[in-house]
Symmetry: C2
């Protein structure tokens, strides 16, 4: 503990940065003990006015570039958010020989290969435990805890906003719009919720997990991404009747042909642990060759949990752990499998005229494509019996089939004259 401190500069002074400062202060002695030396904040920079927070004696500046130029700074903690300036800061800091810690999943998912390469070449740490699943140490699980394992697949609830909305829709019968509004009022969703409910945020995180699990490049553009906006309360209710819950999952699966990367709503059996993860909580499951299934659960956002992960990185770097176990980008030959070539079961919600023989014709189309039916819900009475064209939902659960085959079958189903509106489909996964 008589070693020189790890000297850090913090760029950004929003919620997470304030959480980091508060945590470094509250648990100072414990953190010093675990790091083997003190962690000293030399400088804090924020483009906006300084809030009334304890900077632990650090200099304050509104010039975020200036702090990374300081020779005494060993490590830059990038917490300004956004993409362009954050990307420049991370590159600059690494080029100047500083370790970098960041919570910015967007820039990692886009440029993480560059950062890791810059860091490797200089024997620097580039650490980002807080970028995925907040306070849950899933990066550590991949890089250390499961380091001896080949990862077979990843399935994660990695966007708390979407999970909160789905939980509210299922448990309290709210519509998507009402649940989203409530999430916004509670601070769980942004004013512009597109990144969360559209699946982009989850795709950023899945990109990072897959790179670490499979040694592949950060391949955000190859992630098939679908959000939860189109889900109706009826889908959630039918799923329940069939023994499933709908969760918004990030899924990455390795096979001999490459790696599947997809983010979409998914029916999972009610009795699976992932189905019990409610509200804003996150959970990530890894299936690996030696450890089997392991699952990690906790808060995926918020100042405290995010600061917990950021300071874990600081402690690790202070104690000498530079980029240990990070294999991202080291297996450049890994291919991404197009989503059309992936397999899953499907839930189909087919709005049809209430006429005889419709179900039989739909079943024939599926059968002609070699798709077998697992379960069916057929309402006896039309959903809107008073309208001119009374229709009923035909709900079908299929066994696993390649998505390309299902696309062909869907086109024929949709073209049936009795089908009155767009067919909804949701993938089904059983995970082993």
């Amino acid at each position: 503990l008589n070693q020189p401190p790890l000297t850090i500069a913090i760029c950004g002074l929003g919620t997470v940065a304030q959480g980091v400062l508060a945590l470094l202060k509250r648990n100072e002695s414990l953190i010093t003990q675990r790091a083997g030396r003190p962690i000293q904040v030399a400088a804090v920079a924020s483009r906006t006015a300084r809030p009334e927070v304890d900077l632990l004696g650090a200099e304050f500046s509104t010039d975020v570039r200036s702090v990374i130029e300081k020779p005494e700074v060993d490590l830059v903690l990038e917490l300004i958010g956004g993409e362009t300036l954050a990307d420049e800061l991370v590159r600059d800091a690494l080029l100047r020989g500083k370790h970098v810690v960041t919570a910015n999943k967007a820039i990692i998912a886009h440029h993480g290969d560059d950062y890791l390469e810059l860091a490797r070449a200089r024997n620097l740490a580039f650490a980002f435990e807080s970028a995925v699943a907040g306070g849950i140490p899933v990066i550590g699980a991949l890089t250390r805890g499961l380091a001896a394992n080949q990862i077979n697949w990843i399935a994660g609830i990695i966007n708390g906003t979407s999970n909160y909305i789905l939980s509210e829709m299922a448990d309290n019968g709210q519509s998507f719009a009402a649940a989203l509004k409530q999430a916004q009022e509670l601070g769980y969703a942004e004013a512009d919720p597109t990144f969360d409910v559209g699946g982009i945020d989850a795709a950023h995180k899945l990109t990072i997990l897959a790179a670490l699990a499979f040694g592949m490049s950060m391949n955000f553009d190859a992630v098939y991404t679908e959000g939860i906006e189109a889900l109706g309360g009826d889908d959630i209710e039918y799923a329940r009747q069939l023994g499933y819950r709908i969760r918004h999952l990030g899924i990455a699966r390795r096979s001999e042909r490459g790696v599947e990367l997809r983010v979409h709503p998914t029916l999972i059996p009610q009795q699976q642990l992932l189905a019990s993860v409610d509200g804003v909580m996150n959970a990530v499951m890894f299936n690996s060759d030696a450890a089997g299934d392991t699952l990690y659960y906790g808060a995926g956002a918020g100042a405290g949990p995010t600061a917990s992960a950021v300071v874990a990185d600081l402690i690790d770097i202070a104690a000498g752990g530079a980029q240990r176990g990070v294999v991202a980008g080291q297996s450049p030959t890994v291919d991404v499998i197009p989503v059309e070539q992936t397999q899953s079961g499907f839930y189909l919600n087919i709005p049809s005229l209430d006429q005889p023989g419709v179900f039989a014709r739909a079943a024939t189309i599926l059968s002609d494509h070699g798709i077998s039916i697992d379960a069916v819900i057929q309402k006896e009475h039309p959903a809107q019996p008073d309208t001119e064209h009374a229709w009923v939902p035909i709900v079908i659960l299929t066994h696993p089939v390649s998505e390309g085959v299902m696309n062909d079958a869907m086109a024929q189903l949709q073209a049936m004259p009795e089908v009155v509106d767009t067919i909804k489909r949701i993938r089904v996964e059983h995970f082993g």
Copy 2:
């Protein structure tokens, strides 16, 4: 990767050691990449005859002491099990300047303070990820992932045998004896199941988790330990009716007065994630000041999961991580709170004669002790209506109360002339 290998000796050649050898072989290139250098097995020793397994070119000996004397050995992997010889080997190896990895929770729970002290003084690693919760990296979560946090409490399903038996009793209506027999047939329970169903194994693991979480000494003797042998199918059914499941938990909770350490059957609300952990699986939940609640789930035993954790330790040590973040024994002033001074809710199953006024008298005894009742199940009809002394179970759930007060109340309840048999009580926890 041109660095010299980490050279190891393996003492023991049972299931886990064979799993380690198989894993080192199967994932050799990945392990070398993550460790930054090869892991080479120089010697394997076992007191019994050599089984037909690939020793990866290592020398074999039946003299387990001889292999730790080899000067080229950097690390001794202790997997012989048992206590006396294993303890001697670990001490000897550390005294000779070898790193030590072990899966032996019993010797760590009893002598871990000594081992860590010997290792610290010599700047050696003493690592034991596999000793708690098998393939789930919970030691890593405490020492790395949550390193910035004060841990408030731990609650864990850390004995797969007990959890399997409780799951079978609840889901398939089996008796304790029948479920135990089935567990033995499936290889989930030993011929002598005392350590598992009596709670000793869980107490070993809780000792280790608490030492890492709270910086306290390994304090096995201070753990209050109760097994699952006395649980009846009726208790599990009444718990279900009240909205709870019974799980065998290890619980450690920090307060200003010290740390509670207890292992016992516990009613937990059905909707909590821990209640959904079924079969032989393990799960550990930590509540900490920054990250909040995090939970870690997976297989707690078996050759593959245990080998996963053992090899994770080997990789970590090969990469230079000697005893990072381990604070066990560094806060010697932590007191253990006697179980009489701990608080919890209680489930009481009071077998009583079916006479008027019995429930009122029992309720008065509780009330006189300041114990308030949360819920009651009172059967209208006797459980055994044809016997001479027809009796009914009075099932009461109480709000939290100190255990000492409950002990006094229990003595008075038991002394009621209408109570025909021993009252069963099970603690109730809600975890926040």
